[in-house]
């Protein structure tokens, strides 16, 4: 499961030894996040975001459990109970803002974490299952965030529930029955709110379980690194603790400073003001938009405006939106280049940044009303999104002339910093990049 030079756990006290023979929990943590996990020594700041995502989940669970003590999942009083939390519950405003801003930040760090994986080829063998488990977590997060947003029972909550469950009505034959089944009625109502509350409470713990699998799958091959080259010897690694625990705590400090700035000074800047209007089933807000972290997918959904190939526009939009994520499960087999890191793939690196821009601009389109030029732009970018994965990447990974890889992680590190560290005494290393 780990490298042969990994430090072995040695209980230091009699109690520790007694426990280790019965339930080796400390040994488990030692090997997972402690000195027993040898980690590539060249990880940069982008490798901090997995830990940050874990912290973000813990913040959501803690604040969420506390909010649930004051919230009432009933359409008659749900909105008022949220206002009760904001105005009457001691410190309730802070807990709710932490939970709402925390959701945005959770997605923010997860998006950086995903793009980190894309850039350094962390989805490639032998980490395909690790990648796919990450996507499962991402899908669960999306479901959880959506249902949590509905609980507020404001206008955006209600109409978001209407639109998202309406996606399933696009399916032929069984669509309407599925929508009715999901809602527990013919429109979002008390049954819907109650089941969403139940599932919103459950799913974070499911996410926690999948994260354990994700970390397990990470520890089989060990972490990838910015060179994408496999660990070859002990010289390539440092123990996770204290090296990366210390580094991750620095990143965590920065994260919490930015998080606090949002919670305390601009808590509503990431949300939609319309959700402070109580839900009204007889009036649609003029402009229904999800939270920012769903915008790129919302843009893909709305990009299909005409029927073609005998399939209605609505079904196209729904299929495209779901496949835009499901497609990522196939990524390890679409990108066949043996070189992992884009640092050594000049063309692929350029295309990565084009893809980042496409994803961000799709997000901008998704946040705008369904008008020109946003609809046309969404259509072009949606086409590019799919072309990137289905056409461009497979071809580029076959044809691209990659740069020579360093012989090892140590060699790459020494080439960059070696002469400085050794005071110029070291022989001039070959530049590897």
């Amino acid at each position: 499961m780990s490298f042969p030079w990994a430090k072995q756990y040695q209980p230091t006290s009699a109690v520790g030894k007694w426990m280790d023979e019965r339930l080796p929990l400390t040994r488990f943590v030692f090997n997972a996040l402690g000195p027993g996990y040898p980690t590539p020594k060249n990880l940069n700041a982008f490798y901090n975001f997995g830990v940050l995502a874990g912290v973000a989940l813990v913040i959501q669970i803690i604040t969420g459990v506390v909010l649930a003590m004051h919230y009432a999942a009933n359409t008659g009083i749900a909105f008022d109970s949220v206002e009760h939390i904001m105005r009457d519950v001691n410190g309730g405003w802070m807990l709710r803002y932490m939970h709402a801003v925390g959701a945005s930040f959770f997605f923010g760090v997860v998006y950086i974490h995903i793009f980190r994986g894309l850039y350094y080829g962390s989805y490639k063998p032998p980490r395909e299952v690790l990648w796919m488990l990450g996507l499962v977590i991402f899908l669960l997060m999306m479901a959880t965030a959506f249902m949590g947003y509905v609980l507020v029972w404001g206008q955006m909550s209600f109409w978001g529930a209407q639109v998202i469950t309406g996606l399933f009505s696009a399916l032929p034959v069984v669509g309407t029955s599925i929508q009715t089944w999901l809602l527990g009625g013919f429109s979002p109502d008390n049954a819907t709110l109650n089941r969403f509350f139940s599932l919103h409470y459950l799913l974070p713990f499911v996410i926690f379980g999948v994260i354990i699998l994700h970390v397990w799958a990470l520890h089989i091959p060990g972490s990838n690194n910015p060179t994408g080259v496999d660990v070859k010897s002990e010289a390539d690694t440092v123990p996770f603790h204290p090296y990366y625990t210390a580094k991750d705590f620095v990143g965590l400090g920065v994260y919490l400073i930015i998080f606090s700035a949002f919670v305390f000074f601009m808590p509503n800047s990431l949300g939609e003001p319309d959700n402070y209007i109580p839900a009204n089933p007889l009036s649609t807000p003029p402009h229904i938009v999800p939270e920012w972290y769903f915008w790129p997918f919302y843009a893909i959904l709305r990009a299909f405006t005409t029927d073609f190939l005998g399939v209605p526009a609505k079904l196209w939009g729904v299929l495209a939106m779901f496949s835009s994520i499901l497609l990522l499960f196939l990524l390890p087999w679409l990108d066949t280049s043996p070189v992992r890191s884009n640092n050594y793939r000049p063309l692929s690196r350029l295309l990565f940044w084009v893809f980042v821009v496409v994803a961000v601009v799709l997000g901008v389109c998704g946040g705008k009303p369904a008008e020109e030029p946003w609809v046309r732009l969404s259509q072009v970018l949606t086409a590019y999104y799919f072309a990137h994965f289905l056409i461009i990447l497979p071809i580029v990974s076959k044809l691209e002339k990659t740069k020579p890889l360093p012989g090892s992680i140590s060699e790459a590190v020494l080439a960059k910093y070696g002469s400085k560290a050794a005071g110029g005494a070291a022989p001039a290393a070959q530049p590897a990049e």
Partner: protein, 188 residues
């Protein structure tokens, strides 16, 4: 006694390779499956609309205050209902359309009751993703075809509430209803 006890599983092997114990496995699995299926179905079916939700099935509407060109909104099964009295011009406009050009071909006659053709009663639920279209209340946009306009994703409906433009796949749904008197209907 010992000679009566079968020593190995091979003793059970019939010429076809089947063991008598296979029957026990199949019977056990079948018995367990017969128990699991109804329980699983109950767990799935509990999410369908409950009896009290289904009981709110019909609603009475008084149309006496609705002038030609006006509409009222009501709520049925938690969904909005638009009841609109069409003007003669609107009826003529709806009839003039060649239905073969429509995405969801229906005549005005298919969408109203005989003798009450001026009463256009539909769900106020866009068939795209379920928003409430504009056009029922005074002063709201009625779209490019004078009927209803859904602001969410830009679907336009004509004066028979048929989809003419935008992503919606179907015309606005006509709920089941009957006229109790010339100015009142029961929906559902």
């Amino acid at each position: 006694m010992a000679s009566d006890v079968r020593q190995t599983a091979a003793d059970d092997l019939a010429p076809g390779g089947e063991r008598r114990r296979d029957f026990l496995y199949v019977a056990t699995a079948a018995f367990a499956g017969a128990g699991v299926v109804p329980v699983a179905w109950s767990l799935v079916n509990q999410m369908n609309p409950s009896a009290d939700v289904l009981a709110l099935a019909s609603v009475d509407l008084d149309l006496s205050s609705v002038q030609p060109g006006q509409a009222i909104k009501a709520s049925w099964r938690g969904k909005p209902i638009f009841a609109r009295q069409l003007t003669p011009d609107e009826i003529a406009a709806a009839k003039k359309v060649d239905i073969s050009t429509l995405r969801d071909p229906q005549k005005l006659e298919d969408r109203t009751k005989p003798g009450n053709e001026q009463w256009l009663i539909t769900l106020g639920v866009c068939t795209h993703l379920g928003c409430v279209p504009l056009g029922a209340a005074e002063g709201e946009s009625r779209g490019d075809f004078g009927g209803y306009f859904c602001p969410c994703h830009g679907s336009h409906y004509d004066t028979a509430a048929r989809v003419r433009k935008g992503p919606a796949p179907k015309n606005l749904e006509v709920p089941p209803y009957t006229f109790k008197s010339p100015t009142s209907v029961t929906i559902g």
